[in-house]
């Protein structure tokens, strides 16, 4: 096994570029999944089978099929329908959509965890439905589920390399490009492997701190 430190230092500028793109995907993807997940969760509470059934089937389908194939689907099929996005946008939409089917369950658990008395109090105060949701239920529900949402952000971080398959140059994409140009595979791949471990470990520490703050 031979390790070449000069390859590491050559790779570092590319690494920072890749890290930036990875974090971009992570932040935007999280926002999409948080927003869409809430929409799914709320739609699932509409008291009509004509809404809950299709939403249930579609989200179940997205959750049980590989993100990679979904990425290919959006990347190759949307242009055929004359909708063109950049690869990065397509990737963010795909990863956000995929994870929204997970966050929706987190929200559902949070909403169900709000005590029934809160609903009754809102009814007793004659609050309109919109106000009940925005001022009473959701603030309590979302506060409860922040740690669980954070876990999915960490999972999402580990799925960002998949965007390499649709030509996005995030960390793994940069590493592969560098490897193919210089015929040095060991160093760049190990560097990003270690980077993933460090980032997800730091993120889990931050999440634990956040959780502790929310409890008090």
């Amino acid at each position: 096994m031979n390790w070449d430190w000069s390859a590491v230092s050559d790779f570092m500028p590319h690494f920072w570029d890749g890290l930036l793109v990875t974090l971009q995907i992570l932040v935007l993807g999280s926002l999409v999944s948080f927003g869409l997940g809430l929409v799914w969760a709320l739609l699932m509470r509409v008291p009509s089978r004509w809404v809950t059934w299709p939403v249930g089937v579609v989200t179940e389908f997205i959750r049980n099929t590989p993100l990679l194939v979904q990425l290919f689907f959006l990347f190759y099929v949307l242009p055929e329908w004359n909708i063109t996005f950049s690869a990065l946008t397509t990737g963010v939409v795909a990863i956000g959509l995929h994870y929204s089917t997970y966050t929706m369950q987190v929200y559902r658990a949070g909403i169900e965890g709000v005590p029934v008395g809160q609903w009754e109090a809102a009814t007793a105060l004659n609050l309109p439905l919109g106000r009940t949701w925005t001022a009473v239920i959701l603030p309590q529900a979302i506060r409860r589920v922040v740690p669980a949402l954070g876990n999915y952000v960490i999972s999402m971080l580990k799925d960002t390399p998949l965007l390499m398959a649709i030509t996005v140059l995030e960390m793994l994409g940069e590493a592969r490009l560098f490897s193919q140009q210089n015929f040095q595979f060991t160093e760049p791949l190990t560097v990003i492997g270690v980077a993933f471990i460090i980032i997800s470990y730091l993120a889990s520490l931050a999440l634990r701190a956040l959780e502790r703050r929310l409890v008090h």
């Binding site: 689907f73 055929e80 876990n151 960002t160 390499m164 993933f196 471990i197 460090i198």
Partner: protein, 233 residues
């Protein structure tokens, strides 16, 4: 789509199922060994098992696949057949997630059961085999079922390395037909059917195992992924 292209897809399904079978076996083995090691009485064994879990849960499965395909051969002189390289990468990564399930289920067994074993002067191995595992295993099935679906989705990653699995056959058909909507819809549907069948099989298994220890299966298992943030749950 012509019958030749369908044959390609069928071969892809077969490769995906083989890969799923082997890597789930490896992942199950790793889960139990590492999960049980995390309850060991020596701190060094617990530490090493915990380190394994943190490292393999911390990296992305795709990075691990790249590592096994590109770094292992020159570094250690091992050139693995693609099937085994894919199995190794997926099995080790998902095994780390599984070890958390095993550890959690073992921790959830009533402590009095363990104390009973000590009082009857069972050896640690007998306690594990005769008291802890028979009660813990049925509880592991629902989270393992979710992990198995994650593993099925993970097998699609090997197509990036050029292994002819289901996702890869989809790409070949797309290149042949110059048309993507149809084939990718079929591929997604096939994955969905496999996932559905797997959940059914696992639910049957849970029922059987729980009947063995005199419990009824849970009414409804929500398909939530095991918490992945290290240590946070």
């Amino acid at each position: 789509m012509t019958s030749g292209l369908w044959e390609l897809v069928l071969q892809g399904i077969w490769v995906t199922i083989q890969l799923l079978f082997f890597s789930s076996l490896l992942a199950a083995g790793v889960s139990f060994v590492v999960g049980v090691a995390r309850t060991h009485r020596l701190w060094i064994v617990r530490f090493l098992a915990g380190l394994y879990t943190e490292v393999f849960r911390g990296t992305s499965a795709l990075v691990m696949i790249f590592w096994v395909f590109f770094v292992l051969p020159p570094a250690f002189g091992w050139q693995l057949v693609p099937m085994w390289a894919g199995t190794l990468a997926l099995g080790l990564t998902y095994g780390a997630y599984g070890s958390e399930i095993v550890r959690g289920a073992l921790a959830a067994v009533d402590p009095a059961q363990k104390e009973g074993g000590i009082a009857l002067s069972f050896t640690p191995w007998q306690r594990m085999k005769l008291i802890m595992l028979p009660q813990a295993v049925p509880e592991m099935i629902p989270p393992f079922s979710n992990l198995l679906i994650e593993l099925l989705k993970g097998t699609a990653l090997v197509s990036i390395m050029g292994m002819g699995d289901l996702a890869f056959s989809g790409n070949l058909v797309r290149l042949a037909l110059q048309e993507s909507a149809e084939i990718y819809t079929y591929i997604l549907l096939i994955y969905f059917v496999i996932a559905f069948l797997l959940t059914r099989v696992m639910r049957g298994l849970e029922k059987k195992l729980k009947a063995g220890v005199g419990k009824a299966p849970r009414k409804k298992t929500a398909a939530v992924r095991v918490p992945e943030g290290s240590g946070v749950s």
